[in-house]
Symmetry: C2
Subunit: 404 residues, 2 copies
């Protein structure tokens, strides 16, 4: 017996049969004695259609009207799931953001949750009623509907779990958990029974998109235990928890990769204070995030700066730096989008040396050249030629003892 939040994404509620399937899952939890709140997304494809209509009418549409239109997708799912639950004898009612209320800030279209009023929902859940809550939406200070931005339903679920003081937030999705690496590359990849919030954040930021990053940050801040599991199979998934809850901590939990990177090198820049600001300032102002940065040793008073950005941003970044050529005073820009970032992640690194050197030695033994290196407390990332991605991931998976 526990109080839980169950969250189902768009593919899990894509049609009436799947909604009935979700109702069956919720009923099993209720029958087991759990107090249940369910957070749902729009039926798969609906949000895309609504967004397309707004954009076709006006590329620069009013975000408040966009929110009004797009939030209907989740509203439909809440009503349908409540009906499906009642049909199999489960007491349930739908809740829209404005009814609870889920209060957000004023940033329509990409709002952040400010507070959730949980008392009435708790009262009803204790009385045996399932709360079916629209994800992705709330009500802004102007009393109008606000949405959280794409993928925001994960964040809705975690925030609701915090407000309801739920024991767990179960995120049902089309994968059955978090793996030591991508099973399409390493068939012997293992599903992790538990993973720490910090590890999940690092994995998400390097391409393992199981959970929306904001939802993991919120879970870590509010100490909400999150479980990622399959909506189509009936087996335990991966628990995302505080690292103290992970007793047998491995040094390395997973190997992630990302092909969404591009490398830029600015050659022959004068080696003087302020030059990094001159280069990265304009990129930041244009909304581009720079990731790994390396500065070469200076020679003849000039140096080279190498950094990575999102591959999609490459043309804009080139244009931005070319416009600032006079001001920066470089000799040339080199760009390479044929790269991949490989990351080794694990909270155990904090107390164990030698993780990075194992990585470098493993890649060297396979003849893979490292172009850029960056490290954090619980992560070591390297940039390599994209062709070597699978080879590198497989070799590292074996080297850190992760093969099943």
């Amino acid at each position: 017996m526990a109080r839980i939040v169950m969250k189902f994404g768009g593919t899990s509620v894509a049609d009436l049969d799947r909604i009935r399937n979700v109702a069956g899952r919720v009923k099993r939890a209720v029958d087991a004695g759990d107090e249940v709140a369910v957070v749902v997304s729009a039926m798969a494809g609906v949000t895309n259609q609504l967004v397309a209509w707004c954009q076709q009418l006006s590329p620069l549409h009013d975000a408040r009207e966009y929110d009004t239109v797009v939030a209907t997708g989740e509203q439909v799912t809440t009503g349908l799931l409540a009906i499906a639950l009642q049909e199999i004898g489960v007491d349930a009612r739908s809740w829209q953001g404005w009814q609870i209320p889920v209060r957000t800030d004023a940033q329509h279209g990409k709002a952040r949750i400010a507070s959730i009023e949980g008392a009435e929902l708790i009262r009803r859940m204790q009385a045996g009623q399932v709360a079916v809550v629209a994800g992705f939406q709330g009500v802004a200070p102007d009393q109008r509907i606000a949405t959280l931005g794409r993928g925001g339903s994960d964040t809705s679920a975690v925030a609701l779990a915090a407000a309801l003081r739920a024991e767990r937030c179960d995120i049902y999705t089309d994968v059955d958990g978090v793996y030591t690496t991508d099973p399409r590359i390493v068939p012997r990849a293992k599903k992790l029974p538990r993973i720490a919030y910090e590890e999940m954040l690092e994995l998400a930021s390097v391409g393992a998109k199981v959970l929306q990053t904001r939802s993991v940050e919120l879970a870590m801040k509010e100490r909400v235990r999150v479980q990622v599991l399959s909506s189509f199979e009936d087996k335990p998934g991966t628990l995302v928890v505080d690292e103290e809850e992970i007793v047998e901590q491995e040094i390395v939990s997973g190997i992630a990769y990302s092909r969404d990177e591009a490398k830029m090198t600015v050659r022959g820049v004068p080696d003087r204070p302020g030059i990094a600001a001159a280069i990265f300032g304009p990129l930041s102002e244009a909304g581009m995030n720079v990731d790994m940065i390396v500065q070469n040793v200076s020679a003849d008073g000039t140096t080279d700066l190498t950094f990575t950005i999102s591959r999609a941003d490459l043309p804009r970044a080139q244009a931005t730096l070319e416009a600032a050529k006079e001001k920066i005073g470089y000799s040339a820009i080199l760009a390479d989008s044929d790269v991949a970032k490989i990351s080794v992640v694990g909270v155990g690194m904090r107390s164990h040396a030698g993780v990075a050197s194992t990585m470098f030695a493993t890649l060297a033994s396979k003849g893979i050249n490292i172009q850029v290196i960056s490290t954090s407390e619980i992560k070591v990332s390297v940039l390599i030629a994209a062709d070597y991605t699978e080879l590198a991931v497989r070799a590292l998976h074996t080297a850190y003892g992760l093969d099943a």
Copy 2:
């Protein structure tokens, strides 16, 4: 310069092009200096899909969840129209029922509007902002969304016009006004520039479904001037007004017909007090409306009772009366669904004799037999064999001088 409510139905907002067309119409009114509130329906087909989903999940679904699902159709249209208006430079915002609020009673799925808070809308309209209001919905005393039942957007528009003290409520539809009769039967039928509320009610109840009956009743009660006009052509429609506003009152305004009738005759019932109640009581309890009723002259202590009901109700009515055969004590039931009701409508009848006799003489001259007759202050209706429908309508249209 006036304050007006413009209402657009589902076919008028069926796709983005039509929504842009509606935005253009609204802009012309705004440019002419009008203060405008727009009431919109769901895009054509959307409501049917949402209703079907609810019914497929559970034939006896919770009306509150049905309302939650179905009200999203209008919500989408309000947001899209607001975007389309802003795109052409018209200040506009969408309003859902709960935001205004439009308060309803507690009858979810077929709610009636209790009150509309118009002050904030008036303030904004006076400041030049167009209010784009979701038809068909409001908020019930339980603070949940309520819908008004199918076709309720007409009623929303009239109620809003009353609350805003609007000069006129323009109902844009796929016909361009109210005609003296169905132009598909009588090509020379004329569009009426004006028609009285009472006439409109009688025409609606006999099959001329231009406006929802409830909306006309409300317009009459609140003295809202309603105009019916085409959303695809740019010309004046028909004004539905108080009869005092109609200076040159014709004696007969229109000829209506309905093929949705069925005739039942209960033969050989004992001619004693209470027999009508014994027959019509069970039908009424089963939710069936009886329309025209004729009782024959008694012979040998028994009589025949003939009445009409909706054709769709005929099987249920037969079953109901057969179940009550012992109690009523009749000898036989005859049913005939091959009938049509022809009605002559006009407020001018109140002060002019001879309307009914003209009708009977005209039908007799064409050899059409009258089966049942019923009259009200402003209407004479007869039941005839369905085969003669077009002949009767054309003959009467000429007889009352309505041909163009």
